[in-house]
């Protein structure tokens, strides 16, 4: 080997990633070549410096303590994309926008409404940013106003009646010249006692309904998302899925209640290093109310083609001087020497209606929508197949002999195209409220005895490897079938019940 051949291999050599023969050849060459020897020493030093730099940087980088709470809230939203009641201080502080903030930070986003979400999120982020950063900014007056707003709004927590908020939202995420953005009206009603709610977003130009979330005590209503994205030129009616509430909405409200509060702190943390806020004075708002005007210079998100850019822009917020409600805001950037409004929001109505007010929680008043019954919440779940489909398709479907009394059976499955070489998969879960017993394909062979607590064999020849648990009321096992297939069985049952049920697992064809 000569230098030219050796040098491309030196990094691999240092990392012990050369073959034994390459290694021997390199060593032989280097022993007689001062230049390559020096190169090795230099590269080794650089590697050490890179490691050191990465280690030191990473040592200080840890996820936010709120990361799990944020994620959990998002997961809850994904499971049921219905907004929670607007009872938190955040929503009162920024009525009409809180839903967007919720969507942005609590993750009520699906791919199908991503485009519009991005737009709204831009606005929401900027608004949320402004709200929270101002609280920490140095100018005394701005800080005082924000502190007052925070205190007053936190204390404003009505528990009866119907919270009614109507907002107008202008979105121009690409910072196009004036008036090329989209204006939407978001109207929400929230029954503070029953938890019923409805949020309807319409295009202000043509009145078309573009998204809906609602709950009427019996059903939840979820629109398919804003398929038209920023434009609403499509004449197709919006599809709204109606799903029984007991199927669609287990435990969601409670989780979101706490997560919104936690999220508020998270937003605060995110904006901690934002620039200062200026107090510009007082103005008369369009409905005659007097407002404080706060303005800050900060990074805002705008869309440039399909990419997000983060120019420095201006956020202006208007607070009622008496109630400290946030009545509106505006986000702008400078482009070609002009100030272009990227978004603005105005609160048109913010009131608590009497509890007996008649509100069409079931959306029966909406025009131009197509209400579709989705009794199993299928539109938001992975593919579910019937038992017959499983038996017809799976080569070795292991299941319980029968569905136990009081339990339901749900099967999800994926059968790759023949010849794709990918394994098939199914998961059969027998469920009764919080209890369940689940059987699924599990491809990995049983080989690691460290986490096997007990091995036993069922009467029909299934070898069960019960796994060591890490706390909680759980039993799980890997199972080897006589055909050589590996299954996984997981249950909320204690081990003895688990074993009794496992005896009932059979090859179902």
């Amino acid at each position: 080997m000569n230098c030219e051949q050796v040098q491309p291999l030196l990094v691999s050599y240092l990392n012990h990633e050369t073959t034994p023969s390459e290694r021997a050849l390199i060593r032989a060459h280097v022993s007689g070549c001062a230049a390559c020897e020096q190169e090795i020493a230099r590269l080794s030093a650089v590697q050490d410096q890179v490691r050191s730099a990465l280690q030191r940087r990473a040592a200080h980088a840890v996820p936010s303590p709120e990361a799990w709470n944020r994620l959990e809230a998002k997961l809850a939203k994904v499971a049921q994309p219905s907004p929670d009641r607007f009872g938190t201080w955040l929503s009162r502080l920024a009525p009409g926008v809180s839903h967007l903030v919720t969507q942005l930070f609590l993750g009520g986003v699906t791919m199908r409404n991503r485009l519009i979400f991005t737009t709204l999120a831009t606005v929401a982020l900027a608004i949320a940013a402004a709200v929270f950063m101002t609280k920490t900014a140095t100018p005394v007056s701005a800080k005082e106003i924000l502190q007052q707003a925070y205190t007053v709004q936190a204390a404003t927590n009505p528990t009866q009646g119907i919270d009614h908020i109507r907002s107008e939202l202008y979105s121009n995420p690409e910072a196009l010249p004036e008036s090329q953005g989209q204006t939407r009206i978001i109207e929400s009603y929230n029954d503070l006692e029953s938890g019923n709610y409805r949020i309807v977003t319409t295009d202000s130009q043509n009145g078309k309904v573009v998204s809906v979330y609602a709950q009427d005590g019996s059903n939840t209503y979820t629109s398919e998302g804003d398929k038209a994205g920023l434009g609403t030129t499509s004449n197709a009616p919006l599809i709204i899925y109606r799903t029984p509430q007991d199927i669609a909405n287990v435990g969601i409200q409670k989780r979101l209640q706490s997560s919104e509060r936690l999220e508020a702190k998270n937003i605060f943390d995110r904006m901690y290093n934002a620039p200062e806020v200026q107090f510009l004075g007082q103005e008369t708002w369009e409905n005659g109310r007097t407002v404080y005007v706060l303005k800050s210079q900060q990074e805002v998100k705008v869309m440039e083609k399909d990419e997000t850019a983060r120019p420095i822009g201006w956020v202006t917020i208007y607070f009622d001087v008496n109630t400290y409600e946030m009545l509106g805001n505006q986000v702008a950037v400078e482009k070609d020497g002009k100030e272009i409004v990227v978004s603005s929001q105005r609160t048109l109505t913010d009131e608590i209606l009497p509890a007996e007010t008649n509100v069409a929680w079931d959306l029966s008043d909406l025009q131009g929508v197509n209400l579709v019954d989705d009794t199993q919440d299928e539109h938001s779940l992975p593919e579910i197949i019937s038992l017959e489909e499983l038996l017809a398709t799976a080569p070795t479907p292991y299941l319980l002999k029968t569905v136990p009394d009081g339990f339901s059976l749900e099967i999800t499955a994926a059968f790759p195209e023949p010849g794709s070489g990918k394994p098939y998969f199914y998961n059969a879960t027998y469920r009764q409220e919080a209890e369940y017993f689940s059987v699924r394909v599990w491809g990995i062979p049983v080989k690691d005895a460290d986490w096997v607590k007990e091995i036993y064999t069922t009467a029909n020849g299934l070898v069960m490897y019960l796994l060591t648990e890490q706390g909680g009321e759980w039993t799980s096992a890997q199972v080897e079938t006589p055909e050589g297939l590996t299954l996984a069985v997981v249950s909320t049952f204690p081990p003895e019940t688990f074993k009794a049920w496992a005896e009932e697992i059979v090859l179902a064809k």
């Binding site: 491309p8 030196l10 990094v11 691999s12 990392n15 990633e17 230099r42 650089v46 590697q47 410096q49 890179v50 490691r51 050191s52 730099a53 990465l54 030191r56 940087r57 990473a58 200080h60 980088a61 840890v62 996820p63 936010s64 990361a67 799990w68 944020r70 994620l71 959990e72 998002k74 997961l75 994904v78 993750g107 995110r270 290093n273 990419e307 997000t308 850019a309 983060r310 999800t412 394994p423 998969f425 998961n427 879960t429 369940y436 689940s438 699924r440 599990w442 491809g443 990995i444 690691d448 460290d450 986490w451 796994l467 648990e469 890490q470 909680g472 759980w474 799980s476 996984a488 997981v490």
Partner: protein
């Protein structure tokens, strides 16, 4: 093995939130630090952490251990999110890092480390990924190849190019004994 994820995965796959929370707790640093070291921005890393675990939650039911280890899968999702995240962002300027280095460093070491860090930021996306996986996580070339779904030879050449680029930056740093200087990134593989 106390931290074996299989029992947790099994339970999370059937919808157990506590197990998913435990998985998150066990692997959040893997995702977050990878994202931070790749993107150089904590807020972006927070975003990626959320996105990755949302994706994990969505796809966990179809996770198949026959196709590779859980961590391989997790690294791959994370790197892919980072690459997409970067692609979407304006690359006109390298974002300033939010980190504050402590004063425990002598000036020279601080400058060198800062130069290295900024130089890593300026590597191509693909080179950064191999640098982080190899030099921070100390993964083997074979693991890196599996995560990135590239041939072993490509891992070698990317790392070779990356390291030599970084060496040049350090040499320039030494020559100027000042701040990080502009550099040319070699042809991206």
């Amino acid at each position: 093995m106390a931290n074996d994820p299989l029992p947790l995965i099994l339970r999370a796959q059937v919808g157990d939130r506590e197990s998913f929370a435990a998985l998150f707790g066990q692997y959040k640093n893997l995702v977050y630090k990878t994202a931070y070291l790749t993107l150089g921005d904590r807020l972006d890393a927070e975003d990626v952490l959320q996105e990755v675990f949302l994706q994990v939650h969505k796809s966990l039911a179809s996770f198949d251990p026959r196709r590779g280890a859980f961590t391989t899968w997790l690294y791959r999702i994370t790197i892919n999110y980072c690459l997409n995240h970067r692609r979407r962002r304006s690359l006109v300027s390298v974002p300033l890092d939010d980190d504050e280095l402590t004063s425990e460093f002598p000036g020279r070491q601080l400058a060198e480390e800062e130069a290295i860090w900024q130089a890593i930021r300026r590597l191509s996306d693909k080179q950064q990924a191999v640098v982080v996986l190899r030099y921070y996580w100390e993964l083997s070339y074979a693991d890196v190849a599996q995560i990135l779904e590239i041939p072993l030879g490509t891992v070698k050449s990317r790392l070779d190019l990356a390291l030599k680029t970084l060496r040049r930056v350090l040499e320039e740093q030494e020559a100027h004994s000042g701040s990080a200087t502009e550099m040319k990134v070699p042809h991206e593989l």
